[in-house]
Symmetry: C2
Amino acid sequence: MTAKSEPVQEELVLALPKGRILDELRPLLDRVGIIPEPEFDNDNSRHLKFKTNLPHLSLIRVRSFDVATFVAFGAAHLGVAGNDVIMEFDYSELYAPLDLGIGRCRLSVAEPVALSQTDDPQRWSHVRVATKYPEITRRHFAARGVQAECVKLNGAMELAPALGLCHRIVDLVSSGATLRANGLKEVEEITAVTSRLIVNRAAFKTRPEELHRWIETFREATHAP
Amino acid sequence: MTAKSEPVQEELVLALPKGRILDELRPLLDRVGIIPEPEFDNDNSRHLKFKTNLPHLSLIRVRSFDVATFVAFGAAHLGVAGNDVIMEFDYSELYAPLDLGIGRCRLSVAEPVALSQTDDPQRWSHVRVATKYPEITRRHFAARGVQAECVKLNGAMELAPALGLCHRIVDLVSSGATLRANGLKEVEEITAVTSRLIVNRAAFKTRPEELHRWIETFREATHAP
């Protein structure tokens, strides 16, 4: 067999989220057989794109919200994103075939403890909410006839009620320690959150075998004991 | 004089941006006479709000985009934000009376070096742009009749052209090293950027003396040799 008979394989790009989720992802990458170049573990690296042990697979490391955008626009073929991010964007170009079972938390409504003692969520008619998730928040409240005025914040939502910006926030909750530290109480869960493997739909049509293989490889590694 | 004759002074909240700008701000805070509690210098602190040596002044440390939102909604009375952030939101509730002369950089259009050799910005009719600043970008291009389709990214804009997401990006440029490292070239400056002292307009009406005094104090410290 000559080199000529090998099809030229186009690069495949896998987008991974920075931060906490990446730590949980590493054992899964190991099981899948993806070994990033050493620079990937340098948190201060200026690099954004990394080679792996697999000649046709590159990684990009971006913010969790940007993973969904890079994959939806076909700039990455595969990615790992929480269903919070997937729901917020609601991109038609994203396909999320596999729950990776990591990054477990929940997206919830919280409010000051004092307020929660007399407040009945069933009686809300209009709420102002500070959140990183204005779309999910609007849809959640609209579904039961409540109009939510959302103030988009990128972080520090927990500060907003004490400073009088709003009474309620919608935020990711894991242990609840951050809420408690800020005098807040979870009053409603909007959705449970885990990280999913996401695929660009157009790439899935043009490179079905390769992408199917990756989904199956991740599926096996996810269910491995 | 008894305690009774002292007016009860309401807390004043100053919102500061996390990260690089904060390092440049510290000498200015020193000259203004604001000494944050020690916890403020703990980068891993879960705290979001901090006391200072001044009994009526608290600090919050939030993302640069959120500084503008906290001040616009009156959750903070004063803040420090770049004019990039101020322009992007265009909040009517913000007043930006003082250029602090720190955080100098520029907001620019960049594109791949190879493209820039034949590209003429005067001939663009439609562009797709990856940026953290969709509003500024749309306004900038619309002003000369070019329709900009903006893809909002929160970071890693420099990756987008090489991955085929778009040809152009609009991003903050300081030394230009990040652009060069990604094979990109600055082709147009949209605006010079520096950090400004911002004030909530409603607070400025209800507490004019206090806020005037702070603006003057910052003005003197900014112009100090």
